[in-house]
């Protein structure tokens, strides 16, 4: 089957989201749509999927023009889509989710034919090696497994074209590799795969054809053999350096000393941090690597005091931090960039100006004797927005209306507004586009060069390599080992899976 989009145009008012975009997808190939957040990739796919009406252009299946009034039509024509945010019912089983919307009944009582759905799931799961139990409850599955359920759902409806919208945004590196393997298998079995992404490595790993979209226009096509730099500059529209320029770290004396830190989750009694000990010195970046969910988040939160330590100690510049309030620790000189910025970093319904003082409002000059000084808040906000190049219509705009990258700049601007001793940044560039990643990395290195001790928690190995002066690898709540940044990817990958480094060493 051949799917062709010809001169698709989609406008929202005066804003042209898609400007005469043409792409062709053939069976048995992987076509990557590469572009930054907001470039118009998802709009294009929503037009294809019948969610939006195009203002111009045609969709052709095997050279026959077709129109889709809605997702139902598109699915009937053999187009399946896996959305970035999964469309699954969490309390249903895999089989129930797969049959949802296509329920088959049997017998005179018209009972749901769950057995048929179960068999279908098992068949597809076996054929592609998905390892999915049809009777598992979806909410108990890992994110990667849920995504495979979405793929099974599409395949069970005989999708000949499978659209994956930012499929790796929510996956760990391991799961990403597994997904790319699945994509290859699907391609080999004759499915046409459209991969929407802004991640260059994946594109290079799996795509047969690459179409780069920028601001609603096709700005070029590329071969997978093109270098990451070439792809990035096509995508962003200017030269981008993929490596972060940094000088040798000027390491000073010890700033943070964590010894035997243990955290037991109060509800589940699970030990999430197990006798963790390490040091961070002034002027160095310690990157904490590991597969998501191995204690990195808890480590960052326990240092600040968001979660309480069960035992062990955390000393910042000689002062014990455990048992103190979050505010005391922030005032002691910790800058904290939380992992989930929309949840923990900003108040979406507050203005940019107010978010910029979210942990500064308590003291002078922002407030005096309990009264906030709006003039100082305004001038502070204007200054920070300028300095961090936050793209917002005004400092009075609601922070929730900003893009993820700009929200992250707000958090970073706020945290770096104080004199810091220690900066903890969890997943500082998650979901950001190439331009913003470059910016955030530069700022973090600037802090390091000012003599701040920096801890970066990241599940992106690229980021770990770009920033780290030393790398701590975590597995099951322990630090497997702390290694130099010249350790190769494979070794690091093995350590992230728990190999290497025995338990005595970790303790």
């Amino acid at each position: 089957m051949k799917l062709e989009l010809r001169e698709i145009t989609k406008r929202f008012g005066d804003f042209t989201a898609n400007d005469a975009i043409s792409i062709t997808v053939e069976s048995g190939t992987v076509h990557a749509l590469l572009g930054e957040n907001g470039a118009g990739k998802s709009t294009l796919m929503n037009v294809l999927f019948g969610l939006y009406d195009a203002d111009g252009g045609q969709i052709l299946l095997d050279d026959e023009p077709v129109t889709f009034a809605g997702p139902g039509d598109a699915m009937a024509a053999g187009i399946g889509m896996v959305h970035q945010h999964f469309m699954l019912v969490p309390v249903f089983t895999v089989a129930e989710n797969v049959m949802l919307g296509h329920e088959q009944v049997k017998g005179p009582a018209k009972m749901l034919d769950v057995a048929a759905a179960r068999a279908k799931v098992r068949e597809l799961s076996d054929r592609f090696g998905f390892d999915i139990d049809p009777d598992a409850i979806v909410e108990n599955l890992s994110v990667g497994a849920q995504q495979r359920v979405e793929i099974i759902k599409a395949l069970s409806r005989d999708a000949k074209v499978l659209i994956l919208d930012e499929p790796t945004a929510v996956l760990t590196p391991q799961e990403t590799d597994e997904l790319l393997e699945i994509v290859r298998q699907l391609r080999d079995s004759g499915t046409a795969v459209v991969l929407i992404t802004h991640k260059l490595r994946e594109v290079k790993a799996v795509a047969d054809t690459i179409t780069v979209i920028r601001r609603g226009k096709v700005v070029g096509t590329a071969e997978p053999s093109a270098s990451q730099e070439e792809l990035a500059s096509l995508m962003v529209g200017r030269d981008v350096s993929m490596t972060v320029d940094k000088d040798e770290a000027q390491v000073g004396d010890t700033m943070l000393e964590v010894s035997d830190l243990t955290v037991v989750d109060e509800d589940s009694q699970v030990t999430v941090l197990d006798n963790v000990s390490f040091e961070v010195k002034r002027g160095e970046i310690l990157a904490v690597a590991g597969v998501q969910g191995n204690g990195q988040t808890e480590l960052a939160e326990a240092i600040l005091g968001v979660i309480a330590a069960s035992s062990g100690s955390v000393r910042l510049d000689g002062d014990e931090l455990t048992g103190r309030s979050i505010r005391d620790n922030l005032e002691a000189g910790i800058g904290f960039v939380p992992e989930d910025r929309t949840e923990d970093g900003v108040v979406a319904t507050f203005t940019v100006a107010n978010n910029l003082i979210l942990d500064l409002y308590q003291g002078a000059p922002y407030s005096r004797r309990g009264a906030i000084d709006p003039k100082v808040v305004t001038s502070h906000a204007e200054e920070q927005v300028e300095r961090f190049d936050v793209r917002t219509t005004s400092i009075e705009a609601l922070t929730g209306s900003l893009s993820g990258g700009n929200q992250q700049k707000v958090v970073l601007a706020r945290e770096l507004a104080r004199d810091l001793k220690l900066l903890i940044a969890s997943q500082p560039t998650r979901g950001l586009d190439v331009g913003s990643i470059e910016f955030v990395h530069k700022r973090i290195i600037e802090e390091r060069d000012k003599g701040v001790a920096v801890i970066i928690v990241s599940s992106e190995l690229d980021e770990v390599y770009a920033l780290a002066d030393r790398i701590a690898v975590m597995y099951h709540g322990r630090i497997v080992d702390i290694v130099e940044p010249d350790t190769d990817r494979d070794t690091l990958g093995l350590m992230m899976a728990g190999a290497h480094g025995d338990e005595e060493e970790a303790a």
Binding site: R215, L304, A348, Y361, R391
Partner: protein, 456 residues
């Protein structure tokens, strides 16, 4: 990933009416992919922002700001909740009108021979509506049939008197709503406050001036204590404030009923559950002389409104409370003490509800009975919601409700309609403001951005 993360995890999904820089706005449209596509189209009109070139800076942001300004202002007005609120009131009065028509005797009489002379029915309808709304106006705002100026403005002063307890309690509830607490307990807090204040008023005999102040403080203290309990339980144990405050309302009512059986609370030589009249020294002085019921409690309520505005908009404490209400996780991560915030909010809300009680026992009624609270505590919830939890809005909403109540008797006497009509109108207003999309679809107003995301 939990649901809340999925919802809040799409910052780009809320295209601000300001028209964020173009690429981001584009993302927003991509994100709100769903059946609400057509509505997305409507909102997209304001994304007229010129495309920033390359990675430029603030020069472009400034340009972005200027371009769609006129449109933005219009859209803000259209999207504002205030308009929805006003439209909810309009819709309620319209439906109230239908009920008035059918409740009117002349209309029903004329309807029996509708097919013979339909004109009679319609003119009766017109008469009914006219007299009902003119009765409401005369009862609540201006009695143009009165002989004296005092008589003419008396209805409006009565409206303000009725509004006073609603302003107090509504302000307290509004603080709670903005801090993320759904406090249903104003009724109980008001009663306990009124009890303490009334006791101080009739049992202690203090000098002029001091007596009133102590009695007012007693009211505030009583309410604060009753507010502290659910706040403390929520902060310490996570007990849900809705359930706790509802239950505390029952406890308060029955506690007062029991207290009124005690000799200490009863009039000498009487077994009736009613307290002695509070000393004159403990009563709010009348504001406009003896011809009017309006008392200084109204002025105190306005002062409290200003205080609440300052607290919420200007103080560090209010900043904290708003942050806790809007996103407790971010507030906590930023070093705020969420538990302390919950307790404080409930104490302040309770104190204000207690002051609402003072408007009753030290102002209009001067005695404590089990009926002192009436339905004030619940009406105050509506007032706070109608006023969008802002002080000025709360005052306006309280005056509206005060007016409807003040108009009740006139409606009955002049138009011969049941007083219950005003309660129906009140209930309809609540119904409409609780369902903004309903109002919006009736009046064809565009949906605000944040609700679109929820729909998406």
């Amino acid at each position: 990933m939990s649901d809340r993360k999925k919802k809040s995890g799409k910052p780009g999904g809320t295209p601000g009416p300001e028209g964020v820089d173009a690429p981001d706005a584009g993302e927003a449209h991509e994100d709100s992919a769903s059946a609400s596509a057509s509505r997305t189209d409507a909102s997209a009109v304001d994304s007229t922002a010129p495309e920033p070139e390359g990675a430029g800076g603030n020069a472009e942001s400034a340009a972005v700001e200027e371009a769609p300004k006129s449109q933005t202002v219009l859209r803000e007005i259209l999207e504002s909740s205030t308009l929805v609120v006003i439209m909810a009131i309009v819709a309620s009065l319209a439906i109230g009108g239908i009920l008035i028509v059918f409740a009117d005797e002349q209309v029903r009489e004329a309807a029996t021979y509708f097919f013979a002379r339909p004109g009679d029915t319609f003119s009766a309808m017109g008469d009914a509506l006219g007299s009902a709304y003119s009765a409401i106006f005369q009862g609540a705002v201006l009695n143009f049939n009165a002989d004296t100026f005092a008589g003419m403005i008396r209805p409006f002063t009565q409206t303000l008197t009725m509004a006073t307890p609603l302003i107090f309690a509504g302000l307290g509830l509004g603080i709670g709503f903005r801090a993320g607490l759904f406090n249903i307990g104003a009724q109980g807090q008001l009663l306990i406050g009124a009890t303490l204040g009334a006791y101080v008023g009739f049992a202690w005999h203090l000098p002029w001036g001091i007596h009133l102040i102590v009695a007012i403080l007693g009211c505030a203290l009583g309410g604060a204590i009753w507010g502290f309990i659910p706040g403390f339980l929520k902060a310490r144990t996570g007990a849900h404030e809705v359930i706790v405050t509802i239950m505390l309302n029952y406890i308060a009512l029955n506690l007062v009923a029991w207290l009124l059986t005690l000799e200490a609370f009863q009039r000498e030589g009487s077994d009736n559950p009613i307290t002695p009249i509070v000393d004159e020294t403990a009563q709010y002085p009348l504001l406009l002389g003896s011809g009017f019921n309006l008392h200084w409690g109204f002025v105190l309520a306005l002062a409290c409104a200003w205080g609440v505005w300052w607290l919420m908009e200007r103080s560090t404490l209010g900043f904290e409370l708003r942050a806790v209400g809007a996103n407790p996780h971010a507030a906590r991560t930023a070093g705020m003490n969420v538990s302390k915030g919950y307790i404080l909010v409930m104490v302040i809300a309770g104190a204000l509800a207690g002051l609402a009680g003072s408007a009753q026992v030290l102002g209009t009624e001067k005695v404590l009975t089990t009926a002192t609270a009436g339905s004030l505590g619940f009406d105050a919830i509506t007032v706070a919601l109608l006023g969008r939890s802002r002080p000025v809005g709360t005052i306006m909403a309280a005056i509206l409700f005060g007016g409807l109540r003040a108009a009740g008797p006139t409606l009955q006497v002049q138009a011969g309609l049941p007083v219950d009509i005003v309660f129906v109108i009140q209930a309809l207003i609540v119904l409409f403001i609780a369902a903004p999309p309903l109002v919006r679809s009736i009046f064809r107003l565009p949906a605000p951005a944040h609700e679109k995301e929820v729909a998406a």
